[in-house]
């Protein structure tokens, strides 16, 4: 294990060494800046704050997911989302942004021209947003790259080793997210050229994460005891807090995708809120009528399902259709996680597939139905506005995203499995990943504790002893 860390460390070191070399090339603001488009202060303020809102979604997701796992895995589940903020933020600056949005290569990927943000400066890039600094667009997009792999963690929660998780995330963002973001949003990307409408990431964010999550869940297998033991959420109030932060942050995600403080942003804001509300209603009423209780987890899950579904459509549709999209999303996603998952028997721990892949697919189709140029002249008309061809375009985008997610994620997880243990051992799963992976516990009052502070330098050795003792205790209790 130490060997891999050394290699990873050396790679990171090399990257840091190259920073001054690349930065040296950067030209000082010159005459070119004078002919550049004018920065709009309102737009810039709005997009920067939207980026901050989207950033908060990932810690929000940590709480949303963290509340749904068992006590012994609360911290490890939270850590996966939290750590992705750090990992992908650095990846994005180093090579992620240029792969996704850099100058096009064969309509498939961005070139390395903007490596280390070389050439991405304070002046606008009119290809993407003419009224805000290119840096503002870059950091807004960074937050999308951060939350997407974090969504995947819901599928493999409670059983993935932390080192393997880091390597998987880095590879996945580089080889799945960055290329598909380029296809859909990058100048020259083939799906963008085709006319695919995806305002804020129904395909790029939600289909990719949800489908990839299912692939990982299937490859690494079910949690120990899945199907025979009750695996209950340990702290639903935490999940509700997370859902609240997601809903709040989603205004930055969707309205911010207008990339300006304008009418389109207001429209996206309204349909986002409306769809989330409609889906929360429909999920709760569906569950209530079929199973007898209006559950809190259903209300939280429903709102997220609605937010997922409205994401691709948010900049193209009117308020009326947003109610239909949200209402249908709540019912479709509820059926996906209760009926479909039960029938097929896969262990998608926290329903990243059922909510994000299914909700994202529905949203991408719905965009092709209700998109209207009256809302966004830069978009297109959908089926109900006389353009059935848009549905075909949407289906191509959906198919491409599903295919890329399935094939690339399968290859990536298999490659990671060749080099390191991906799945926690049975003993570690029984003990819980909080202690086995992180040497911490989320709740000090969960059981009787005994121990003493360690003052000498052999802390690691002591931790190993403690873990061995805890494992022994866990086994005794298990017998």
């Amino acid at each position: 294990m130490k060997k891999y860390w050394t290699i990873l460390g050396l790679c990171l070191l090399c990257m840091v060494i190259f920073v001054p070399v690349t930065l040296a090339d950067e030209t000082v603001p010159s005459a070119a800046a004078t002919i550049a488009p004018k920065i709009d202060s309102g737009d810039t303020a709005f997009v920067l704050l939207s980026a901050a809102l989207v950033m908060l979604m990932t810690p929000g997701l940590a709480l949303f997911y963290g509340g749904m796992v068992r006590t012994k895995n609360a911290l490890s589940t939270i850590m996966q989302s939290l750590f992705i903020v750090a990992v992908v933020s650095v990846q994005w600056v180093l090579w992620g942004y240029t792969l996704a949005f850099g100058p096009d290569i064969h309509h498939l990927i961005g070139s390395f021209d903007w490596l280390l943000l070389n050439g991405v400066g304070q002046t606008p890039n009119p290809d993407y947003a003419a009224t805000i600094p290119h840096m503002a667009f870059m950091i807004f997009q960074a937050m999308f790259a951060v939350i997407t792999p974090a969504l995947i963690t819901g599928s493999f929660a409670e059983r993935m080793k932390f080192p393997a998780f880091i390597v998987f995330t880095l590879l996945w963002v580089t080889f799945v997210y960055d290329p598909v973001a380029h296809w859909v949003w990058g100048v020259g990307g083939w799906l963008r050229n085709l006319g695919l409408l995806d305002f804020a990431g129904g395909t790029v964010v939600h289909i990719l994460s949800g489908v990839s999550g299912l692939v990982v869940a299937l490859v690494i297998g079910k949690r120990k005891g899945h199907g025979s033991e009750a695996m209950l959420p340990h702290h639903l109030p935490m999940t509700v807090l997370g859902a609240g932060l997601l809903w709040f942050g989603w205004f930055g995600f969707n309205a911010g995708s207008a990339l300006g403080a304008n009418g389109l942003a207001a429209s996206a804001f309204v349909v986002t809120n409306t769809a989330a509300a409609a889906a929360a209603l429909s999920w709760v009423f569906a569950e209530w009528s079929l199973q007898g209780k209006p559950t809190v987890l259903g209300a939280a899950s429903g709102s997220v399902a609605g937010l997922v579904a409205i994401t691709p459509a948010s900049g193209y549709i009117a308020a009326g259709p947003s109610i239909i999209i949200g209402f249908a999303a709540g019912i479709i996603c509820y059926l996906a996680v209760s009926v479909l998952k039960g029938k097929l028997g896969y262990d998608d721990s926290l329903d990243a597939f059922g909510v994000h892949a299914i909700g994202g697919t529905w949203g991408a189709i719905a965009t092709g139905l209700w998109a209207s140029k009256a809302i966004n002249p830069a978009g297109a008309d959908g089926l109900f506005y006389g353009n059935p061809g848009q549905v075909v375009t949407q289906l191509i985008g959906i198919g491409a995203s599903w295919a890329m997610a399935i094939v690339a994620t399968f290859i990536i997880i298999k490659i990671v499995m060749l080099f390191m243990p991906v799945r926690a051992s049975a003993e570690e799963e029984v003990l819980g990943l909080d202690i086995s992976e992180h040497g911490e516990r989320g709740y000090a009052y969960q059981d009787l504790m005994s121990g003493s502070p360690v003052f000498h330098e052999k802390l690691a050795v002591h931790h190993a002893d403690v873990i061995a003792t805890l494992k022994l205790n866990a086994e005794e209790r298990g017998q």
Partner: protein
């Protein structure tokens, strides 16, 4: 020295009855007790919980277990008090178990037998 008979009584009952039971036991002279939160099953059926449309049967229900040890206070008075307070007439009121006890030790003084459980201040 012959030791008077010591008896241990376990009362397993509804958590909401704990305060009332503690008061009732106090009035008949039982001053010490050990209380634990426990889960149990018996005639009382559990309930159903629903998480994202998946139903889970919860079979073990939360109860409290009150452990008391008596010597001077008659066992019958304890049983009467517990029955009076804890009985609702519905399934799930709980059980009372009575055991003879071999010995008891007060750790602070090392006293053994009945003296170890009798309140020295009374």
């Amino acid at each position: 020295m012959t030791m008077r008979k010591i008896t241990k009584i376990d009362i397993i009952t509804r958590p909401e009855k704990l305060e009332e039971l503690k008061e009732a036991l106090g009035t008949i002279g039982v001053t010490g007790m050990t209380v634990t939160q426990v889960y149990g099953c018996g005639l009382q059926k559990g309930h159903k919980e629903i998480y994202r449309g998946r139903e889970v049967a919860i079979n073990f229900l939360p109860k409290v277990k009150i452990e008391i040890v008596v010597c001077e206070v008659p066992v019958e008075k304890v049983l009467d008090a517990a029955k009076r307070v804890c009985r609702t007439g519905n399934i799930g009121d709980g059980k009372i178990f009575v055991y003879p006890l071999e010995n008891a030790v007060r750790i602070r003084t090392g006293e053994e037998g009945d003296i170890a459980i009798i309140d020295p201040t009374s």
